[in-house]
Symmetry: C2
């Protein structure tokens, strides 16, 4: 019989009463002393659970904290479940209604015009903007509105991407306004109102998410949850209509043959520019029209980014503490060479290929077009094959390495991994659809064979890269404790003591003071691999993000799945693929630092 | 300063060491003494969390248990995350590849024939069956393979439904075999092999899920997780192909006009019966063909049921204990009258309407058809309106009632609520699509107005019913402790003591010995409401389950969204709607017992 309860300190600092549902919470110095906060909190956990079995069984770590501690003092679980449910229903209803509207506008453009859809979007955007302002005012007024900021939420790449794509969206809106001002004399005013409202929405939302993406809000939880779900719904609807618009645009004016576009789609396209008799009042109109369609993909990305951030914020509402202490890592390239150099070579070669491809594929000669495709496929195949090999090596090293897994549930980390896995589905979908198409039509010709090989390799690469990133993120980081505080030293001592008495290694035991020693070969190799993968992912991001669309330049997809279906698959899948690559770059950077 | 740790008993019964990652666990009498198990377990939680802050912060309730206790003694988190990831990837890849194949078969029936799709399904079913037999052998051999059964998983309605729909699927397979034996001389052998394999798969899977749906498996976790995800993927693919087949069948031979069916779909339909020159070798063929198409909806339901059960099993792999004690409730109708009687009236009236509708709507006269639709809509509207009103009243009573919420995270309960919410999306989708169609075409004529009203009412009913059920399930049950054990009496005494000393009511305080007193009015009303809703949901289940399809009898949907789109929406949405109604009936029964 061997039972020990370790380290229950500081009970006196907490004022908790465990009778029934009500908990009271006096001052907790989360902000003032982040080092000790982690320990305090796990003490609360222990306390909550010890008390819990008086009738309240099995709270999860995160929720127990959010139930136990609240800024207002007494807090009932009722309102929480109520607000989750309410906001969930709000999202569900808005999105389903939106789907019906968009489907109607696609399949019956005469009865559901784009005006109706845009009116619906305006009706969503205005309340969202109003709520964001309300939120700003609320959190500004109350001191205790945001007790804690989730350091993992809203990382810099997400916020940076949001601003970048937001700016592109704004330019798109300006072009749209300019275009529809030209049609103002004969088209509906909704056409001008929509881009104006969208521009305001984009501005306010970007500002809002930039500042508040990390907030774990404590006040007005019901309204905040509903507001966040409303903005998630709005972004999803903007995404859906943008994808539909772009797909219809490509279907009506495809680069090659127009044979597949159905009657209703043509009607839609003409309806979207008003009546056929309606002419623009100034000559530069067509330039604006061409220009804004090029900016659609950025708007699609913007909506995806904003959706992801709103969802993370929604998950964080009411969260008080996170027992995951952020570790400080320094970025330096001291010990690595081959990885970054190899990655740079791939990056530069990829950029060169991209330029050649974009120039040649626009050519009218069929032969030049095929040559461009061949070059594109070969360059990508080499990149992806290298990445796959290197990643497999990395996974093997993880197997060899006996580094501990970071135990404990980190909600933001799980969310992050979920987003990574989810986003990879876009690329998977495009690849599998390509594989089926090529195999079914029979592999004849080099271009098709290369296309097939690239798709198969991409599937393999996505699988192993996901495994590599997830494994990498889940490992305990190697601490380079130059800034070791008194507290963590105490913990380390304690851990060593435990180890001696029990013969088992604790995670804290890995805290060592290794300031300038060269890295062991495994860590060095992992750093090389991460650096190489990071740079390779950048080039795989650049190509689709800046307009390479071999899926349309190669006619196999459109031939096999009729045009509409293929356009839908690619236009839904590719933006997720782009999101996935950006997310991978950020995650690989973290893996690099941790290794 | 007021801190108490209540009721930490029995530490000596547990052999836990908290140093680092490894936990050892000796015998725990979960099975032998269910009454005390709940308390023991929450004690473990307390201990785990108390120990956790030595380095492992913030485990959730469920995961902490699954990490802390394992049958084998030492257990590493590594394999768990690996098996989650691996099985997740398996599901993702199989389903996406399947999607690509099915899309290919729809949009390019010449290159991807139904033979290819069926071959793919056979290639999924055989490994699934092999795995299920392997699982059976494994758990049979090892005593400690299943330490704990989740009493909430695989409830009787789910298993009953599975068997019912499984039998129908088997009959369908027999019909298919009989049909394709007639074509054997000129069609591919895959056509016969597929229903044979599917019949074996259905038999084995029904047997497997009937016996093992509640298992929380401890051995072979990686293989088990992957096996369960494989069977989930297989069921999803069977569901997808069945929906596609049925939709194509309806598109090619619609009851009304055939104007919308496209060229490729016609090709597909003829291809699915072999070449056009291929003739059946015996005369009864066409009867079998007609018959098996009527059984498709049951096969679709079967796949949904099996998917839900496989998913719940997957979630339960490695789970050792549940801190939610099952409460014993007795079913009796002593105190209620109005609810059940009202419900029965609705049920009988509904059945009568259903019979009249089915007879009249098959008529060729347009007027008779419209009359049938009118009757159907009115009967449903009255039912749904009554349900909405009654449910709102129920929600108000919940607000008035000061019954405690069952705190603590119950994973099975959350899963259950998730399934309920998810399944309701099917009905939401059909309703919202109908609303948009009717509004866009303009409401002219009684039938359309009724259709619109019914759809709006259905949306409202779904919303309030979901709220009512979720609130009802989350309340602490009223204990009727006729079988109060010594242990619970002790707890009650303890609770009363606490109450006296602290002035706060504990949930345990509600344990009273109210054997035959009449119920208080709030509880009585809640029981009446649940009973009424239960019976009303049964009639709303019967109508679509046994073939009422006003969505196709009323031409508005097919007119507005072209035929293919509408068929897809209805064929995906309705089976979920049927699942939702069955799930609601079961949940309302539980709410009735708890009230």
């Amino acid at each position: 019989m061997d039972f020990r309860v370790l380290h229950i300190h500081d009970f006196n600092e907490l004022n908790l009463s465990f009778n029934g549902l009500f908990f009271q919470h006096s001052k907790m110095s989360v902000k003032d002393d982040p080092e000790s906060a982690g320990v305090q909190i796990s003490t609360v956990h222990a306390g909550v659970h010890a008390g819990a079995h008086a009738g309240l069984h099995g709270l999860t770590g995160q929720r127990s904290a959010s139930i136990a501690l609240s800024s207002g003092g007494v807090w009932q679980d009722k309102s929480s479940s109520w607000s989750w449910m309410l906001s969930g229903f709000l999202l569900m209803n808005v999105v389903i209604l939106g789907c019906a509207l968009v489907s109607g506008s696609v399949f019956n453009a005469l009865q559901v015009t784009s005006d109706h859809v845009q009116f619906f979007l305006i009706a969503l955007m205005i309340p969202t903007v109003v709520w964001m302002i309300f939120y700003k005012v609320c959190t500004f007024r109350e001191d205790e509105a945001v007790l804690y900021k989730d350091v993992h939420a809203g990382p810099v790449w997400l916020r940076g991407g949001l601003v970048l794509f937001g700016v592109c969206s704004l330019i798109m809106d300006v072009f749209k306004i300019a275009l529809y001002v030209g049609y103002a004399h004969c088209d509906s005013p909704v056409k001008i109102a929509f881009p104006v409202v969208q521009a305001i929405f984009t501005l306010v939302q970007t500002y809002f998410l930039w500042l508040h993406a990390r907030d774990c809000v404590q006040v007005q939880r019901i309204i905040t949850r509903c507001g966040l779900m409303l903005s998630l719904a709005t972004n999803l609807m903007v995404w859906m209509t943008a994808v539909t618009d772009e797909s219809l645009h490509q279907t009506v004016y495809p680069s090659g043959n127009v044979s597949h576009s159905s009657h209703s789609l043509t009607v839609r396209a003409s309806a979207s520019n008003g009546d056929n008799n309606c002419e623009c009042s100034y000559p530069a109109c067509s330039i604006f029209e061409d220009a804004y369609y090029y900016l659609y993909p950025f708007n699609i990305e913007y909506s995806l980014f904003a959706s992801a951030m709103a969802y993370v914020m929604w998950k964080n509402v009411g969260r008080v503490v996170d027992d995951h202490q952020p570790h400080e890592h320094r970025f330096h390239l001291r010990d690595v060479l081959v990885g970054p150099v190899g990655g740079l070579v791939v990056l530069v070669a990829g950029l060169a290929t991209f330029v050649v491809y974009e120039v040649d594929v626009a050519s009218d000669e069929q032969q030049k077009k095929e040559a461009a495709l061949t070059i594109y496929y070969i360059a990508n195949m080499v990149t992806v094959a290298l990445m796959t090999g290197v990643t497999v090596a990395g996974c093997v090293i993880y197997r060899l390495e006996r580094r501990e897994h970071a135990l404990g549930k980190n909600p933001t980390r799980s969310l992050d991994v979920g987003l990574l896995m989810g986003a990879s589905m876009g690329q998977f979908t495009v690849s599998y659809f390509t594989i089926v198409a090529v195999l079914a039509l029979g592999v004849d010709g080099t271009v098709n064979a290369l296309n097939l090989a690239l798709s198969v390799l991409t599937v393999a690469e996505l699988l192993v890269q996901n495994v590599f990133i997830i494994e990498g993120l889940r490992r305990e980081p190697h601490h380079e404790s130059r800034r070791a505080s008194v507290f963590s030293n105490l913990l380390a001592l304690q851990a060593q003591e435990d180890r001696r008495s029990s013969g088992v290694l604790t995670p804290r035991g890995s805290i060592t003071v290794t300031a300038h020693k060269p890295l062991p070969w495994k860590r060095k190799l992992l750093k090389e691999i991460s650096a190489f993968l990071l740079l390779s992912n950048i080039i795989l991001w650049i190509m689709p993000a800046f307009g390479a669309r071999p899926q349309f330049d190669n006619p196999i997809g459109t031939d096999f799945y009729q045009f509409n279906m293929w356009v839908a698959v690619v236009n839904v899948g590719l933006p997720f693929g782009i999101f996935y690559r950006m997310h991978s770059v950020a995650s690989l950077f973290e893996v690099y630092l941790k290794s």
